[in-house]
Symmetry: C2
Subunit: 153 residues, 2 copies
DNA sequence: ACACTATTGCAAATCGTTTGCAATAAACCA
DNA sequence: TGGTTTATTGCAAACGATTTGCAATAGTGT
């Protein structure tokens, strides 16, 4: 049985918790892994149904929630007006990754910038001291027009 | 008639567009202005009903959407899992303001960091060149524990 | 192969938000 | 000031995204 890295890792966690690796979960995991974008549940569902037309949308939601609770994906909202959640597979190795969101076509581009990390380091300390709070995480979302949309404007 | 700055400014825009300043709108505007937090439509509705129990929730939504379209408030999602939109009154003068979100009590603290602006300047150019895209805006959301929650942990 | 029970498909429920419509009331004018 | 116009309201129903109860199905360890 071929296992994508994600599916393999999840299977391990699954076993350790008395869970079961099903065909549905494997399918969703594999699609999630190939997808370099940030699919919504519906998008994943549409993709998955090409392989398994009997798959149910609620199974997709349940699987994504299960993955989220165990830290394999994290939910994102790139557009504060957009209702759907996007799911972001978490690569355990990669450092902090930030996102650019095209407000015209909704495309999302990931980027990592050392300067951002550096800045975050500064701000973390500064804001923390100034307001007496503990900063654990930071999400930077840039927005504007992607290459294609900028060209045709 | 007493006018909060926000209500006054909105009234002007309203007039210019053949709109009407109603008691409901004034109430919502005033609550929005006193609120230094980032209320959801439901929260605003609950507050407003203390003054006007006949106010309808759909009026709150319609007013907020109207304000958003004209740039008087902007929607925010501090918790990517939280379904509700929060509404952030826009202060025209203040520079870019960023947000810290306490993952324990959901409190939101605003802060402004000139370094972020500076970084944006850099990144705008760099990321833009590197990926060929146009960056218009940036939202930084820090998360962790607020002062109070950090203390009781 | 069998038993145990986690997971599924399905349908209905829930949540936040939007919409159609008839009644109301701001704004403008005689 | 009272009358006319029409933007805005309250109400109820619709909506889109997500969740849930339940009986049927199918992984897993034996
Ligand atoms: Mn991502
Ligand atoms: Mn704010
Ligand atoms: Zn685009
Ligand atoms: Zn807190």
């Amino acid at each position: 049985m071929i296992q994508t890295p994600l599916a393999a890792q999840v299977t391990q966690t699954l076993r350790a918790q008395g869970g079961r690796m099903t065909a549905q979960r494997r399918l969703i995991l594999d699609l999630l892994q190939e997808s370099d974008s940030h699919p919504t549940a519906e998008e994943l569902y549409a993709l998955a149904r090409q392989s398994d037309p009997s798959l149910n949308l609620s199974t997709v939601y349940r699987t994504l929630n299960w993955l989220e609770e165990r830290g394999f994906v994290s939910p994102r909202r790139f557009d504060d007006n957009h209702a759907h959640k996007h799911f972001d597979p978490v690569q355990p190795d990669a450092g902090h990754v930030h996102h650019f969101h095209c407000r015209n076509c909704d495309r999302v581009i990931e980027f990592s910038a050392p300067q951002v990390e550096q800045l975050l380091g500064q701000i973390r300390g500064e804001i923390a001291r100034q307001h007496g709070l503990r900063v654990d995480d930071a999400a930077l979302v840039l927005s504007g027009l992607c290459m294609d949309c900028a060209a045709s404007a």
